[in-house]
Point group: D2
Chain length 412, copies 4
């Protein structure tokens, strides 16, 4: 028997910024019997999924679904449009943009990695506390008069920091520079939580994954692709097969895939799309914004710095909390895990041990967040962190003052 | 599709005093395929269940398992030992003892219904704020020199009030009176939450159900029966068949039942027994006691009266909260349901609208209770109830000061 | 871990005449979280269930849903309309009618038990190979000029023999005799497999259960009741409370029950009703009739006697197969269980060891039955039973010649 | 609601050679809540999985687990050991070896594709009816005196034909030629059905997937890698990141992965490993061999050619059945799907429409196969195919004569 099937009393609180808590409805859908991926039912399912996922990305163009985690979709994006030796312009917003940058390097792509310089008084890198600065991108593109830069790569919602980036501004920057570079955006943790508009914002490749706003377990990832990206892919010399868009696009026409898809996770995706579209994407975004505001009210009351230094780009998905210098944030997380059966997100890379992350996404509601904030507040206190005031009270005040507008159980 | 399979965001908080939240492990077990209730596997399962459930009741004597809810087990207890016209002495501790009393009357049994007189300053009946007064029972039994009273019937944990009763004291009262009456105890909502000792306390028939401390959905109920009760059942003239112990006892010898048992709920019972015995009954009791203390800390901080007026018999299963006169407790509950997707227990019978009940049982942990108390506190405030202070803060203080001792996820 | 969660390769074939194999869809529904049985969602569910189940019984009158197995609903029927000492006329069609008769006796009701006399050349009682003979009932009622007989009790589908009874004919017999007796019918294993018409056939109390045609696990049972039965219940002097219709009828008006209902099984009932009504009751009946015909083709090819001696009343639910004298049918069943992981129904009561029963109900299709017949045929051969020819071939011939008309996967 | 959750009566028979029917136990495990892939529980799970999967591959060396389907693991194998322009020697045994060959070409690897020439009297390519001819490989390697060939790539169990290949013989051929080429083997559909010995047979990279013998849904795939393969990977110049072994090996040391793993499928893998090792690998292999023999007995009785022309390498996983010339095998499959709710495998690539495939793997037992063969036999007849005799009878005869030795329900 799986040790996971053991029985501490009560449910674990999985309050990391993804994998998010999976709604039971999705777990139930995933337990349907696996079907023949070449049979007639599958084609019907496939076509329904491909149409539905376009609505989530707000695109009329194709969305590729990979049986792979989000990291695979990063590679797919680069491998389809770039060739070894191509130059791509990336922007450091945190750990995940850094990993994507590292991947590009491994793939033989030349990179430039823009960022804001320095650290601030918290000791954290400034660029890990802010979103993309579109003016830096515009400046660099203007310098690239020979159009060596093949693509601009940015992260929409930095899962390691809790800062989003203004993608429309990046698009404007590229246009203002009159540069032909493709715009590639990672919204792995932003999709279906934070507003995202693939077509309207002129994104060429959007990368996402299943285990965040879509509320699925990990294992599926996406490339939403513009006609310009498809055109570019025909020139790419990067060796690839699994990630290659061409055969998938051909096969998708009838609702199938060229190789075995991730059938049972696709059942879950079907449910997720239905749940999200039924509530309405704008309602879903507002719901996450409100949760974020409630959580930030708590962090502010504690007197601890929110990692995202720019209120204009606070993430609706997660909130990074900077712990006082000299306090090991991971020790606090460990205590909370052991005393209160809750997982909070760890500080990654350059901010390891200096912060923790509270996820407010997935199968969640106000009381889940009150539980989360209670657990965090008790953990901080038990760890000896001085807090200015009750975050729990502040969050209650916020939630009382701002009623939830959607995603509620129907009144009887 | 079942409306219940709809998708408000997040899990409902079922904080009524039963049916309690069912652990996923039990729901998973219940989804195993139904087997032949006359086949060889079933007999093995049956014998394992019958041995396990004895440990939960702390008895070496038989426990009858009915495919029926707890109300059925009440009837079974009366129907097996009493005959129409027999006199039984019952004690009013609240709504459920009153319902049992009403049932006895319907069955043609003569009853006397002891209670404490009057109402107190809250306007609530005094007898609905206390446990059984064993001295009243002793007094009445002493008067019954001709031994007309066939049985004494009391409720161990009054689900409608949050007061327990001292069963050992009732036993002592019967013995002190030198009276041969059978002792019949309803611990439907007490079993596997509050200490209960069928053999040691000399109980003749213990009635319980599946949907409280055993953490199953409703549908199974129990009669734990002493040799004296079995002897008495041979004289009973109450017409009965479904409830009759004799055929069940005979069939149980090989692990079977005389009629179709509730197979899939029995799978759940198997898991429940395994979970409880693995943690240890005393640990389970302590866990519920601690939760009760935390919740009462909150209610005290609010400045609202706890319905159970006798701290010696506070229930570890639920806490009744009396709302101020003139405030409709059901309106508060409705607001909490609609705003925060949480169910609290309603005031029943004589206390309808005057109180609500917080369940602290089933698949639960500290953070579940913090969510619960947050929801209740917000609901009180939004309903205009003046509260003295932060119950949420008081509960956090209690939980921080008193670490949980069992039922925790194993440290890694 | 539950031993049932062990891992023989492949699924067990549960081909007994109930509990029937439960569709995964129903098991999934049953795993939804338990809700507050006094909350607003529950009332909506309850009203939907109560309306839906009427359609299954073909009645405009109330259907009582008990958290109990079918045996409980037998008792409920008797306890609500009879008083101790009343006379009821019952008819022996097999083991289950005998058990109901025994129950009536235990409840203090006087009974007469009609039957066909004698045994035939198979050594089996003739009355266990036929349906109810309505003329015997009419004759007896005509003799009862003082109308001492309070009710006529018959079984619609004898689960122990595979013979149905003509309920409309019984109704006509009662009417022809001009007798006021109530008509009480057990269709525990017939409902939702064989045509049944509570209102049209003038049934006063119909008893049924969850674990047969409704394809649920055991644990729920039913009384469909006519206005005349309700009227009669007001005179009944049988002590009862759990089974009493009055409080349930009152509470059902708003979709609730007077005591805790079997919540998670009700979720399953919801799915079952939806599945059955969507296919259409007549289609469901035809589907079972066709299965029965296919199975009987096999038994005929084997040259073994079908237990039901009257082709006009062959059960669409199960087929009883008489084994040659001197062969222990239970030994054959055991071998099949061990070699082929299939459960067949045992011979009960007077036919123990002389026959086995093949269930063709529940979550089943043509290939399930081909598997079943293959297993039975191999078991017969391995047990040394001489068979005349290939039952498997005969069933294939039948199924090829008679295409299934409903309950199929939608063509793509 | 998912259309898949509709309700044809009974379970679909998924008798394709993978994805195989998933045992309920595995589906249940997959429905456990998703946990933090960086938390302490996950590391324990990861280490247990990595140790267990080694036993399945019979290796003491690392096994890489990818969140990807089998096609991804093909690419991973090539990408880690080859560089663009490298020469690999592949062998055409059917559709899947052809797809792998095509992939190698897309990745910029030069290939040679050995095969047996011509078609035989069935009109099918001879090389699609046989396993790898090791002598052809030895011959080619001996010619390669300058050791240009970097790797030899063969398929262990050709899912498109039902022929296995003698991997030990390929190893001997390489050794006899004194050639340093790596041996890379696809046993995607062979693992945990057919005997496979990564270490003993000197395989350098073994590729496999989750959705065949491991009985999981698709979505996980594997590279088992020898020290020599790891050494070779350090020289590879193929751009890659997701597939790169180095970071995964490093991260696996503590039971974690460098990017988000497929958590819920890993729960299923845990169960699969436990089920397989508990039965014993040799028992599992024998069970599949016996099933294959039973199915082939049926095909022989029908008088239809088994696609695998060499009895020495019959697959224990699936059997390819060649339909008479002029008969569209896909039309037969369609009829079977619509009439009997069973999926059979289609003819792929060069044999499309000329054959169908019967899978005998996954959650299966003798009666499942009897159902399968009955469905196939009825489908053949209804399609007008003349068959020589009863395949169903032949399979029953085989199964009766050869009792199953493991994977049975424990005798009671």
């Amino acid at each position: 028997m799986l040790t996971l099937d053991a029985h501490p009393s009560g449910r674990h609180f999985l309050q990391i910024p993804g994998p998010s808590p999976v709604p039971d409805r999705i777990l139930r859908a995933m337990s349907l019997p696996t079907i023949d991926h070449r049979g007639p039912e599958f084609g019907v399912l496939g076509q329904k999924l491909l149409a539905g996922i376009q609505q989530i990305f707000k695109t009329r163009h194709p969305v590729i679904i990979y049986p792979a985690s989000g990291t695979g979709a990063w590679e797919a994006a680069l491998a389809n449009v770039a060739s070894p030796g191509d130059l791509v312009l990336m922007y450091e917003t945190g750990h995940f943009s850094s990993l994507w940058h590292k991947m590009a390097t491994r793939l033989g792509v030349k990179t430039e990695f823009l960022s804001l310089p320095g650290t601030d008084d918290t000791g954290l890198p400034v660029t890990w506390r802010n979103g993309v600065q579109a003016d830096l991108i515009e400046k660099r593109l203007r310098e690239d008069s020979s159009h060596q830069i093949r693509a601009v790569c940015v992260v929409h919602n930095e899962t390691s920091t809790g800062a989003t980036s203004d993608i429309a501004a990046v698009r404007r920057a590229i246009d203002a520079a009159g540069h032909p570079a493709l715009l590639m955006v990672d919204t792995i943790s932003g999709l279906a939580c934070a507003d995202f508009r693939h077509d309207e914002w002129g994104v060429d490749v959007t990368i996402s994954g299943s285990q965040k706003g879509l509320m699925l377990p990990p294992g599926i990832s996406f490339n939403a692709i513009s006609p310009k990206a498809i055109e570019a892919s025909k020139q790419s010399k990067m060796p690839k097969s699994y990630w290659a868009w061409d055969e998938i696009l051909e096969s998708n026409k009838t609702g199938y895939w060229p190789y075995t898809p991730n059938t049972n996770l696709l059942y879950g995706l079907h449910e997720a799309i239905e749940m999200i579209l039924e509530e309405g994407l704008d309602n879903v975004f507002a719901r996450h914004q409100r949760w974020g505001a409630g959580v930030r009210a708590a962090v502010n009351a504690w007197g601890l710095p929110i990692q995202c230094a720019d209120p204009a780009v606070y993430s609706p998905v997660l909130t990074g909390v900077i712990t006082p210098a000299g306090v090991d944030a991971d020790a606090i997380r460990r205590l909370i895990y052991q005393r209160f059966d809750m997982s909070l997100g760890m500080g990654l890379g350059k901010v390891k041990g200096r912060m923790f992350r509270i996820g407010h996404l997935g199968d969640c509601n106000d009381l889940t967040l009150m539980a989360t904030l209670s657990g965090a507040e008790m953990g901080l206190k038990l760890s000896g962190v001085k807090i200015a005031g009750s975050g729990v009270q502040a969050a209650m005040d916020y939630f009382m003052a701002h009623p939830q507008q959607s995603g509620l159980r129907a009144a009887a």
